[in-house]
């Protein structure tokens, strides 16, 4: 496999991770979920880039940052089509896709206004009941929230 990356629309990094195919509207939520606003490494964002599949997409390049699968999978709620390119010495050495996890803790808000998690300061907990069209079931109120109604903290 040829791993030279010519098509990335923002400047190249030597080592790190490129997250591509983020829907442009979800960029800031992805930043928040991954806590990128708190990192001190060099990070480049591109947004409203043209994409055949997504319409407008965003891309994030992170110098010297590599993610654990469990951490990166958290963005699947927002960016189910996201692709990761792991860069070593300016070359893509590995490509990954995100996977929807079985359980989700503390990222999403339960869509049920009568849920205890929306009344007392409790960390939300969900089991994922549908991975294709993401739907999550609240551990507390047992109501299902689908992706259209999902709010991410």
């Amino acid at each position: 496999m040829v791993m030279n990356d010519k098509k990335l629309q923002v400047s190249a990094i030597k080592n790190g991770t490129v997250i591509d195919h983020i829907p442009a509207s979800g960029l800031f939520k992805v930043i928040k979920i991954l806590g990128l606003d708190k990192l001190e490494k060099q990070i480049t964002f591109g947004t409203n880039l043209e994409s055949k599949r997504l319409g407008l997409k965003a891309i994030i390049k992170l110098a010297d940052i590599f993610f654990l699968d469990d951490d990166i999978n958290k963005i699947s709620l927002i960016a189910p089509d996201a692709k990761l390119n792991i860069i070593k010495d300016y070359k893509v050495v590995e490509k990954k896709i995100v996977e929807v996890p079985d359980t989700i803790t503390g990222i999403a808000k339960c869509g049920n206004p009568k849920c205890i998690t929306n009344h007392e300061g409790i960390k939300s907990r969900f089991t994922v009941v549908n991975k294709k069209q993401v739907a999550i079931k609240c551990h507390y109120c047992e109501k299902i929230t689908d992706s259209a109604h999902m709010e991410i903290f």
Partner: protein
């Protein structure tokens, strides 16, 4: 179960359900047993529910136990703004078990995670009311001799009816055929139809109660509340189509029984009360035996 709580009917396996039903049958034969001697049970009703509270307090009293608590949130520290967590952690110091009713959904699950004594959910908003479900199962098994392969008709408010949703989930373990009779606005929600589809169980939907009663083993009636309708005209038009009358029971099966979680308003004609197929008052009595079974089972007093 890792912790001994009863929060949702879905926490119980078939075996645990049978265990409770068998115990309840034993309490029906011998209701007064001094098993809760020296035990204190907290009954915390953050919203009033006289019927459920009296049933629990009767069960505790027949077991020789004492109970403490409050009957609505206004008479407790909750009205001063205390969090649920603080209330539960405090009351857990005073009691051997907490039985709670709360208007917020998921409150009982949360309470079970902060309490050091067992928690029994006596209703959390529109979510779960597992002791009601167990007494419904007890009533069905007692009248039918089995829980397997039954035809159950659910009538009324199937959209918001918590007892319907929980019983539907529990009966899915027993190859039930479901018949849903409701006005359009109060249809069974899609998530329960998806649930039944996944289990490969048969269900049918009707607008008219007359279409289906003759096949039923159980007719489970529920109350239709005017405030559930966005259009009051729609309520006026439909309300009488979901009233069970004596003549409708004429050609029903001999084993058929009518259940209702009570309180009833007008959805079962009072004439039906005399019909031997009416079972709802006995169903309420079964609630005491079932709750005796649940309390003693959770506290490990009955093996």
């Amino acid at each position: 179960m890792e912790n001994n709580h009863l929060i949702s009917i879905t926490d119980y396996s078939k075996e645990e359900i049978f265990k409770i039903l068998d115990l309840a049958a034993e309490f029906e034969r011998n209701p007064n047993q001094n098993l809760l001697n020296n035990k204190v049970i907290a009954t915390l009703f953050f919203e009033p529910s006289t019927r459920t509270r009296l049933s629990f307090e009767s069960a505790i009293s027949r077991l020789g136990g004492k109970y403490i608590g409050f009957t609505d949130a206004s008479s407790s520290s909750v009205s001063k703004g205390e969090s649920l967590k603080d209330t539960i952690m405090t009351v857990a110091n005073y009691s051997d078990m907490i039985i709670m009713r709360h208007p917020i959904e998921g409150s009982a699950r949360w309470a079970s995670e902060v309490s050091r004594v067992p928690v029994v959910n006596a209703g959390d908003g529109a979510n779960q009311h597992p002791t009601q479900t167990l007494l419904d199962l007890y009533s069905i098994r007692k009248t039918q001799g089995t829980l397997d392969n039954l035809n159950i008709i659910f009538v009324g408010d199937l959209k918001y009816g918590r007892t319907v949703h929980s019983l539907l989930q529990a009966m899915a373990m027993f190859n039930t055929t479901y018949h849903f009779v409701s006005p359009k606005e109060l249809r069974i929600p899609d998530e329960y139809k998806i649930f039944l589809d996944r289990k490969g169980l048969k269900y049918h939907e009707y607008r008219d109660l007359n279409e289906t009663v003759n096949d039923a083993d159980i007719i489970y009636m529920t109350r239709i509340q005017r405030e559930r309708f966005s259009d009051p005209m729609e309520y006026e038009k439909t309300k009488n189509s979901y009233v069970l009358k004596n003549e409708m029971l004429e050609n029903t099966k001999d084993n058929m029984k009518v259940l209702h979680p009570l309180p009833r308003v007008n959805e079962i004609d009072v004439n039906v009360d005399e019909n031997e197929k009416a079972y709802y008052f006995t169903q309420a009595l079964n609630g005491v035996y079932t709750r005796q079974a649940i309390i003693t089972h959770i506290l490990g007093l009955k093996k």
